[in-house]
């Protein structure tokens, strides 16, 4: 397939990162689309968990919120929110946390809380929800977002959830035993942290994307791996699955304006 948007490429590249055996805590928005494309293509048995307490859910349409009825109806089981956070997340039973971000830095630290000062914010964003503990309790963290200089920044305004902090072994120094961010998928590229410094490094460029484009849409000086690959473009199955899912979702959410 040659006719696809950068956002479609991002969602499909993110879907490919998930496998059949994963137990994945799904953030709403871009992560939710990617996780469900994975489930509908190469990973039919993946366990998707939403923080509303639904475990092993298989929604026909993407939920607008993390607590849509669709998630409960199609889930293997639904537990209370305290149980979700205690037994399942804190208990270490979730292999991957998939998060989006309003602001992200080069070490995978995420801000979804405020733009500007916390007490007198320029913009008050929704805040962390489940993310502060998802970021430290899941086995590893995948992040997906569209690149822009204002979203990929040198210094985030607030540490909503901790990635690799200042880099290096900062997580271990805080007593965090999980891996943290291991993968960043944008609309332009696939990034992985450098094994030593933990700085996100471009490993693969999506088809037709230049290094300059990646730099122009990123607020820090971008590092590229010694050998940068080209991301395989979406297959017909992947693209068809994503578009069908989005069409079903749009129809379901339009409803009748009351």
């Amino acid at each position: 397939m040659t006719n696809f948007t950068p956002t479609e490429m991002m969602t499909i590249a993110a879907a490919r990162a998930l496998s059949n055996d994963d137990v994945c805590f799904v953030g709403i928005g871009a992560p939710s689309a990617a996780c469900n494309v994975a489930r509908l293509t190469h990973a039919p048995d993946i366990t998707l968990i939403y923080e509303s307490g639904t475990i092993g859910t298989a929604p026909e349409v993407l939920p607008l919120s993390i607590g849509d009825g669709e998630l409960c109806e199609t889930a293997l089981c639904t537990v209370s929110v305290p149980e979700m956070f205690r037994y399942w997340l804190m208990g270490g039973r979730i292999s991957i946390g998939f998060l989006g971000a309003a602001q992200l830095d080069r070490f995978g630290n995420i801000n979804t809380t405020v733009i500007g000062d916390y007490t007198h914010p320029k913009v008050r964003l929704p805040g962390g929800g489940g993310a502060p503990e998802i970021a430290t309790s899941c086995g590893e963290i995948f992040i997906t977002l569209k690149q822009a200089p204002r979203s990929m920044v040198n210094t985030i305004d607030f540490f909503t959830s901790f990635g690799h902090g200042e880099g290096g072994d900062h997580r271990q120094r805080l007593g965090i035993t999980t891996k943290g961010p291991t993968l960043l998928i944008t609309d332009l590229a696939i990034w992985r942290p450098d094994p030593e410094t933990k700085e996100f490094t471009v490993r693969s460029l999506h088809k037709g994307v230049t290094r300059q484009q990646v730099q122009d849409n990123c607020g820090w000086p971008v590092r590229f791996a010694a050998s940068v690959e080209e991301t395989p473009e979406p297959t017909e199955l992947e693209l068809g699955t994503l578009r069908d899912l989005q069409a079903r979702t749009a129809a379901a959410h339009r409803g009748d304006a009351r």
Partner: protein, 282 residues
């Protein structure tokens, strides 16, 4: 013991100026009709406790009922921001509010600790998180057995909790199914509990024995308000009004549009309007 009351009387008897109150329901079963009644009664200086303030607290904050909000995700789920809450935080309109911000995990566990009669919740959390720096209620304890440092926060003990449920029995026992959220914990953590329900049935005989049930002796008042969770939903009764959540983004973006909407749909309306609002969603 549960008294069956009109929504007006249930709110008037149990919610007072200055109370700490939780209106809980995790996306599902949000007690909107009860909040509208509180707005109509002009109850003020409330400390609002809720994981996701959602539209329900956007409306209460926008109408000036809140002095303080304790929360963990101030978004319009799946849509974006809460514009009335933002206006209060960013511009003190219609009044300034104090905010105490937690993570979902912390909020859920603080309700659980409250329901357990414990003074605090202890859990593995907030590592590296910025909220520790801005919320003085987030402290830590050392596990006496392993030496691990764990987060500790005060338990939630609201004066009153409001929830919405599918059914009450004639005695006032309460049944919830679907996404069960944090309502059982929020109810058992509170001094007083008010439940709005879709319907009252003679008994729960023959239903699945493990459906979440609050016994009638844990509840102060039950009010029958069909559709009372709209625009959120009631599993088995009506679907989430996603279009209304999208529409709220526009209404709440403008102070005058908000006031006009509240005037027409809350101040000059009563609990009986909810049943019509869910008609097309059944």
């Amino acid at each position: 013991m549960a008294d069956f009351l009109s929504l007006h009387d249930a709110v008037q008897r149990n919610l007072h100026d200055g109370d700490m109150v939780a209106f809980e329901g995790f996306t599902h079963l949000i007690p909107h009709a009860a909040a509208h009644e509180a707005i109509r009664q002009g109850i003020t200086d409330l400390t609002l406790l809720r994981m996701t303030p959602d539209i329900i607290y956007d409306q209460m904050i926008g109408m000036g009922l809140a002095r303080k909000v304790i929360f963990s995700y101030a978004g319009n789920p799946g849509v974006g921001l809460l514009r009335r809450m933002r206006d209060a935080i960013e511009h003190s309109y219609p009044r300034g509010i104090e905010t105490v911000e937690h993570s979902h995990s912390a909020m859920a566990q603080a309700y659980e600790a409250g329901a357990s009669g414990l003074p605090c919740a202890v859990f593995r959390g907030y590592k590296g998180a910025g909220l520790k720096e801005v919320n003085p209620d987030i402290k830590s304890v050392i596990c006496p057995f392993t030496g691990e440092e764990l987060a500790a926060i005060p338990s939630h003990r609201p004066d009153v909790t409001f929830i919405h449920a599918q059914k009450a029995s004639e005695k006032g026992d309460v049944l919830i199914e679907g996404i069960i959220g944090v309502q059982k914990e929020a109810a058992l953590a509170a001094k007083r509990v008010v439940v709005t329900v879709e319907e009252v049935v003679p008994s729960f005989k023959g239903l699945h024995p493990n459906l979440t049930i609050l016994p009638h002796w844990t509840i102060d008042a039950v009010a029958v308000v069909p559709g009372g969770a709209h625009p959120s939903y009631t599993y088995g009764y009506y679907a989430r009004d996603n279009a209304a959540y999208l529409e709220w983004d526009k209404i709440s973006a403008d102070r005058e549009a908000f006031s006009a909407w509240m005037e027409a749909n809350v101040l000059n309306a009563g609990p009986e309007v909810f049943v019509q609002r869910v008609e097309a969603l059944r």
